[in-house]
């Protein structure tokens, strides 16, 4: 870029620096003040694509594919693919408009052709196709404009070259889905390195791009059997890095969505590798700050696992209880939602194993001062399956939650919660009246004992205070020893408490 600075030949006259865009500052207000006040201009989007552009050749439109005889088709196809490998600068939206249009038209035609014409995909074009795709989509993603990018709040940074990129992705997808597509040929080009770069693209901030990538990776996983284990392993690495190192990766939800369908297809019995994935990756994923962005997909994956193998239930529930949010109520609601999904598919034999810690946690949620958490927890009792599980195990579950429920029903600030708890208590009563009465009685007894203890403690303190006063008086007045008279009294009241 040519600099706008003047040749440095006017050294001693700073009053006339000769910078053309700014008027000479002879007056204090010789410049527009408005420029300052306006909001920070959005940084121009950067894309690392353009960097590798060497000599920009002029693109000329080639004849249409449908207009050439079959004998020349593949030669033209190659030329078109080569044309589509030329990259354009989309940051400068007016640069080389003609070239961009030629490429766009060519891409459109390729998309059309690969989708509808049979017999186009012959072996020699595979390397050309993969090369064209690689050149276009593989790039180092630009730095995020906003270092604290919050996928829920902030506008994503959209990929400027999308007009071309979308067509390339579309072409790739149709290529994979074409009835002529031969994985055995393509696997020479779609190798591990290719997949790794594809996975790295999932960090793109552009949701449109991630959507395409999701579908494409899914197809790749389906068609290239040899790459499956590798894809799963690399996904693991991405997740582990996300959990323990960076806490930043934009494509977690998309990857989990793919994995959900992959888990669905796991053969039984589950391999150790898969179980390990559940325990060491999926469960710790719950601890990530931005859980809300991918929680639905994550919960789906977890439930898929449990539907496959019920013996994993205890691990999962204990894992969730371990990572249970302590301060974030929004996450707590999500955990409760996931827990209900799990309980929906739980086997009674598994339920017995975790009912006590689980319902202690549920009771804690019911007593949360945040009414959404309490409400979400109380909704468990609207679920008939859960209710039947509770009923079958009421001798364990009821004692675990009764005290909290009873107390919260008297103390919670929110009327909706109070009435929900009354309903729950009522179902308990109907469920097992005798147990309910026992629990009520023991609860009241416990309360009474507590009160008594508190009272005794207070009396003790009072006694001590009196003792202090007397001592003070004693020190001032006669040299009596009121201490000795009081001490046994204190000792007895202390013994009682």
């Amino acid at each position: 870029m040519e600099t706008k600075l003047p040749p440095a030949s006017t050294p001693t006259s700073p009053s006339s620096p000769g910078l053309s865009p700014v008027p000479p500052p002879d007056k204090v207000d010789g410049f527009s003040r408005r420029s300052l006040r306006r909001a920070r201009p959005r940084r121009s989007h950067s894309s690392s694509q353009f960097r590798y552009q060497s000599n920009q050749q002029e693109l000329t439109p080639l004849p249409l594919l449908k207009d050439v005889p079959a004998s020349e088709l593949h030669e033209l196809l190659s030329r078109k693919l080569a044309q589509c490998g030329v990259m354009f600068d989309f940051l400068d939206c007016v640069a080389d408009l003609k070239g961009k249009e030629v490429k766009r038209a060519a891409l459109n035609e390729l998309v059309e052709c690969v989708g509808s014409t049979r017999g186009v995909l012959i072996e020699p074009v595979y390397p050309d196709i993969i090369r064209m795709i690689s050149v276009n989509i593989f790039r180092t993603l630009p730095p995020s404009e906003n270092p604290e990018f919050d996928p829920e709040e902030d506008e994503p940074n959209l990929e400027p070259s999308w007009p071309h990129l979308q067509l390339v992705y579309e072409f790739f997808l149709r290529f994979l889905e074409s009835p002529d597509f031969q994985p055995s040929v393509a696997k020479r080009y779609v190798d591990q390195k290719f997949v790794l770069m594809l996975l790295e693209l999932f960090d793109s901030e552009d949701p449109r791009e991630r959507e395409y990538l999701k579908t494409i990776l899914h197809r790749v996983y389906g068609k290239f059997l040899g790459l499956r284990a590798y894809i799963r392993k690399q996904c693991n690495h991405i997740f582990l890095r996300f959990i323990y190192e960076l806490e930043h990766f934009n494509g977690v939800a998309e990857l989990l969505e793919i994995l959900g369908s992959i888990i669905n297809g796991f053969a039984l019995p589950l391999k150790t590798e898969h179980k390990q994935f559940l325990v060491r990756v999926l469960i710790p994923l719950h601890s990530v700050k931005s859980l809300s962005v991918f929680h639905a997909q994550l919960a789906y994956c977890v439930v898929q696992f449990l539907e496959k193998d019920a013996t994993l239930t205890e691990h999962v529930i204990r894992g969730l209880l371990k990572y249970w949010p302590k301060t974030c109520t929004q996450k707590e609601v999500m955990f409760l939602g996931e827990m209900e999904e799990i309980l929906d598919v739980i086997e009674p034999s598994q339920f017995v194993k975790i009912q006590e810690p689980l319902f202690k946690q549920v009771a804690r949620c019911v007593s949360s001062p945040h009414f959404q958490v309490a409400e979400r927890a109380l909704y468990f009792w609207n679920n008939e399956y859960i209710l039947s599980l509770i009923e079958d195990n009421c001798h364990t579950v009821l004692p675990a939650v009764f005290g909290t429920l009873y107390q919260v029903s008297k103390e919670h600030w929110n009327q909706t919660i109070v009435s929900l708890i009354y309903n729950v208590l009522k179902t308990f009563m109907e469920m097992n009246g005798k147990l309910f009465d026992e629990l009520t009685a023991s609860y009241k007894l416990e309360k009474q004992q507590e009160q008594q203890k508190a009272q005794e403690r207070q009396e003790l303190w009072q006694g001590l205070e009196e003792l202090r006063l007397r001592r003070l008086q004693g020190a001032q007045g006669a040299r009596e020893t009121p201490l000795q008279r009081l001490t046994p009294q204190v000792a007895t009241s202390g013994g009682q408490s």
Binding site: P6, L19, L36, R51, Y244, T272, K275, P284, H315
Partner: protein
């Protein structure tokens, strides 16, 4: 327990919770410092949670120092080997940090084994382990024999620097600094430079950023010759990189790079090879790049000397002073002293002014605050005349800013200006303007007058204080706003030491006594406090005062509760009854905190 299903369950038993709640335990064990704690530390070194693992490794490193060489090989090295060949990536990452502490004291056979383990971790399957290995590569290289560095570390470095993941490659750049320090120039050229050149042109901006960020260290490590041949061209590329992040990181290093060039030929190198690129950065499209440059560019003037500065740098400074982004202008102004040493600020005054005026009115109060802080420097450089003509009005305008921090800074600024320009100047230009504000309808402005008097009285001396300021303060004792009245009491206490006894006895005391009877609790409080201070001073001056006249103000009323009265951030145009409202102004809160503390400490 999380680890139960995995194969890593064995050693993870103690720390299997994979939880940062284990962190304190790792710290605790560290304090025990005993061989017995090695097994639990080994478990902690395998947990997932990074903080726990790192702390466990740190503790293990310390323990290793306590071992005798024999015990080290008997107990510690096997532990490292176990970790290095663990199933789950966590133990292998931990192992990476332990090689360098056991290597120097191990026997040759064990050394070979350790190197072998490190080699295999550098090409580990999981990127997490490769990252850990890459980040410890430099440290490990330092404890190796030179021959091993050349034969083993360099190939590892080359491999890591061309890893498929950019997060690994960028860590290799860090290692490059350490490795380069160990090698001779010829070896450097042959073994390291190809890789470094490649890193400077890596396709990932993160790696290029790292090169830019570590540039000074690299420069020192490779020495002057390679710097001139290789690093300067690389630096030029980084300065015109396509990613703003990289350009900004490089721009930050401009000054350091130039400083560290060999003195001989430095000027020519800078003028021919660096300056053209800097010129382009001045009109960069990205404000962070310009701002980074602006924070260091002034430093070049001392390196290049007066003539070059005037001829080549000055136009750049001027251009940046007019930049549309306030941060850029501020960075230039903040570093004016560098230029001042070389050419004097006058050269810049014509362009400085509009920049200053604009910054003075910037919408962000922090920007305004920053520019206020440079006023005394500017004033002394530019001289009284110029100041009176152009900047004085600005300084006065800040006194009525709607942000308290700015008003406060403006008050201090006035004091510093008076120190520079003298009392006569103060009497003619500052004091009248300040005193006029005493009649302002806005109580905040009236209070500013008091604050200014507090700040100025000492510098201005007894005469001005007694003749011009005191009457105004005394008059304000009748203000209808309680906040003003108790600030009058505070001001009187503050300026008391400057006044002579006549004024104290005849004018100040009656007014304070009247305020001491005020209906407002806080006014009373401060008045009584002031009375006791004034009385003390009078006694010192050997003036007869009856003790009974002096109530011991602050502690006297035991249950006195000091209600915080705050000059709020609101413009004070509202009715007076709103004045007791608390504000969020931190400085004010600080003041309150101090007061409250003060009153408590007297109780």
């Amino acid at each position: 327990m999380a680890g139960a299903a995995g194969p890593g369950a064995g050693p993870a038993a103690a720390g299997g919770d994979g939880d940062d709640s284990l962190y304190p335990i790792a710290v605790l064990i560290d304090e025990l410092r005993n061989e017995d704690v090695q097994p639990p530390l080994e478990s902690l070194a395998t947990v997932e949670e990074t903080v726990v693992r790192d702390k466990a490794v740190e503790s293990l490193r310390q323990i290793s120092q306590e071992h005798t060489p024999i015990a080290l090989e008997a107990h510690f090295v096997p532990l490292v080997k176990r970790l290095a060949s663990g199933d789950w990536f966590t133990s292998r990452t931990s192992a990476c940090g332990l090689f360098s502490v056991c290597y120097p004291r191990a026997s040759n056979a064990v050394k070979a084994e350790i190197r072998q383990h490190f080699r295999s971790l550098c090409s580990d399957d999981t990127p997490m382990v490769r990252r850990a290995a890459a980040s410890k590569l430099g440290e490990f290289a330092k404890v190796l024999e030179l021959a091993s560095v050349k034969s083993e570390i360099v190939p590892l470095f080359t491999n890591l620097a061309s890893d498929e993941q950019d997060s690994v490659r960028l860590l290799a750049v860090e290692a490059c600094v350490s490795i380069a320090q160990l090698l001779s120039q010829d070896d450097l050229e042959a073994l390291v430079m190809p890789t470094l050149r490649q890193a400077a042109e890596d396709k990932s901006w993160r790696v290029r950023y790292m090169v830019a960020d570590k540039f000074s260290e690299l420069q020192k490590a490779v020495g002057p010759k390679i710097t001139l041949n290789d690093l300067i061209p690389a630096f030029q590329n980084l300065l015109k990189d396509c990613e703003a992040e990289v350009r900004a990181a490089a721009a930050h290093k401009v000054k350091e790079l130039c400083e560290n060039l060999p003195i001989e030929g430095r000027e020519t190198t800078i003028m021919n090879q660096i300056l053209p690129y800097i010129k382009e950065l001045v009109s960069d499209t990205n404000q962070h790049v310009k701002s980074a440059l602006a924070s260091v560019i002034m430093g070049l003037s001392t390196i290049l000397g007066k003539e070059n500065t005037i001829e080549h740098l000055l136009p750049l400074f001027l251009a940046q002073l007019k930049d549309e982004c306030p941060e850029v202008r501020l960075n230039i102004i903040s570093n004016l002293d560098c230029v001042n040493e070389v050419i004097g600020i006058r050269q810049l005054s014509q362009s400085l002014l509009p920049a200053i005026v604009e910054l003075a009115e910037d919408a962000k109060w922090r920007v305004r605050l920053a520019i206020i802080e440079y006023m005394p420097l500017l004033a002394s450089q530019l001289g009284v005349e110029f100041f009176d003509e152009k900047l004085n009005s600005l300084c006065m305008a800040w006194l009525v800013d709607h942000v308290y921090a700015i008003r406060e800074a403006a008050t201090n600024n006035l004091m510093k200006l008076v120190q520079k320009f003298g009392t006569e100047w103060a009497q003619n230009t500052i004091v009248p303007k300040v005193l006029v504000m005493a009649n302002d309808p806005n109580y905040l402005h009236r209070m500013t007058t008091l604050f200014c008097i507090n700040a100025l009285s000492e510098t201005c001396g007894q005469e001005i204080t007694t003749k011009q300021m005191l009457p105004i303060v005394l008059k304000m004792a009748g203000d209808q706003v309680a906040n003003v009245r108790f600030n009058v009491a505070k001001s009187l206490q503050k300026i008391g030491p400057i006044l002579d006894t006549n004024a104290l006895q005849g004018e100040v005391k009656p007014v304070l006594q009247k305020l001491g009877q005020d209906e407002d609790m806080d006014v009373k409080y401060f008045a009584q406090e002031a009375i006791s201070v004034v009385a003390q001073r009078l006694r010192k001056l050997d003036f007869p005062v009856k003790d009974s006249e002096v109530p011991r103000a602050p502690g006297a009323e035991k249950n006195h509760f000091l209600r915080p009265r705050v000059p709020g951030e609101d413009t004070g145009k509202g009715p007076t009854y709103r004045l007791h409202v608390n504000t969020r102004d931190t400085l004010v809160q600080l003041e309150i905190a101090e007061l409250v503390h003060f009153s408590q400490s007297r109780d």
